[in-house]
Amino acid sequence: MCTMISKTIPIKGSAKESEGWFDINTINISYDHPFKADLGYAINLDIPNQSSDKFSRIILELSPQSASTLIEGLQQVLASGHALDSHSGDSSQKRGLH
């Protein structure tokens, strides 16, 4: 851990690995050296399967530019989703998607 830049964020959802789906409740984010990607530094996303005792997890290593692009894409899709919810009178809160 060379940069000391990391953060753990509570989230809610599901993820899939080779052995099947698992519930996720945290994501660990760091700006640090990647394990695999051809980058000096990466935005590393670590999503652990906390119901497993086998250290199974999903790891993403993104270039900082890719991470920014992903954030923009997420915001655009979220905005569209919110607009759809308000138009239909439904909300993500009602469906528990928060």
């Binding site: 851990m1 000391m4 250290f55």
Partner: protein, 254 residues
Amino acid sequence: MYTTDMYESMIAETVTISGYNNDNILAYFARPLHTKPRGSMILIHHLPGWDEWYKEVTRKFAYHGYLAICPNLYHREGHGDPVDIASKVRSDGGIADDQAMADVQGSYNFLQNLPYMDSKVGVFGTCSGGRHAFLAACTLQGISAAVDLWGGGITQNNNSQEPWYSKQPVAPIEYTKDLSCPLLGLFGQEDASPSPEQVSAHEQELKTHGKDYEFHMYPDAGHGFFYYDRPVYRQAQAVDGWKKVFAFLDKTLG
């Protein structure tokens, strides 16, 4: 110097040592069998964990005539793929400096208890292990040489607002006055942690305290330029770097 008519032999195996809190942890230990060891090395692995590269480097030191031991600093986190365990460790803010130093001390004690032990002990580490190697050279007794390869985080401590602040509460640079042995540092000019500016700050502190050190800053190299299994590998710099490592140990450990 090696010649092709030499007989060579070594043994490399997993051993158990007593580390922090008297915990039994695994370590990888390699030693030459055909010759009296010329020195001993404790290898402190990097953030990616107790992985194949570090096992290879442990054997490399044995090939060069050293007793070499590499403790698994992530032993307490459980066992599995080194990357998965390392990712968990990073998410937890790394391991505590006190714990790492006690595990290095346990490795030192293991070496001292060997019936054929009769040599000086050095420490070697890369990435977070480079930081730990410097810490060991400043805070443990009996270390005769330290090799810090691109150790990040030497000039700063953890953000006190972070929950894992207590794991690394003191910036290693603050221990510089206590450095008890010669230090070799190899760094890449394109690295951001440690950046050239951070390396310069550390070098200034070493000068201020009149320490015996040797720093080399490689152009066209970033973080981890020895790692042949990663895109960051820089062949010419790595070959030269290894020569500097063994020349330094030849001078300091014999």
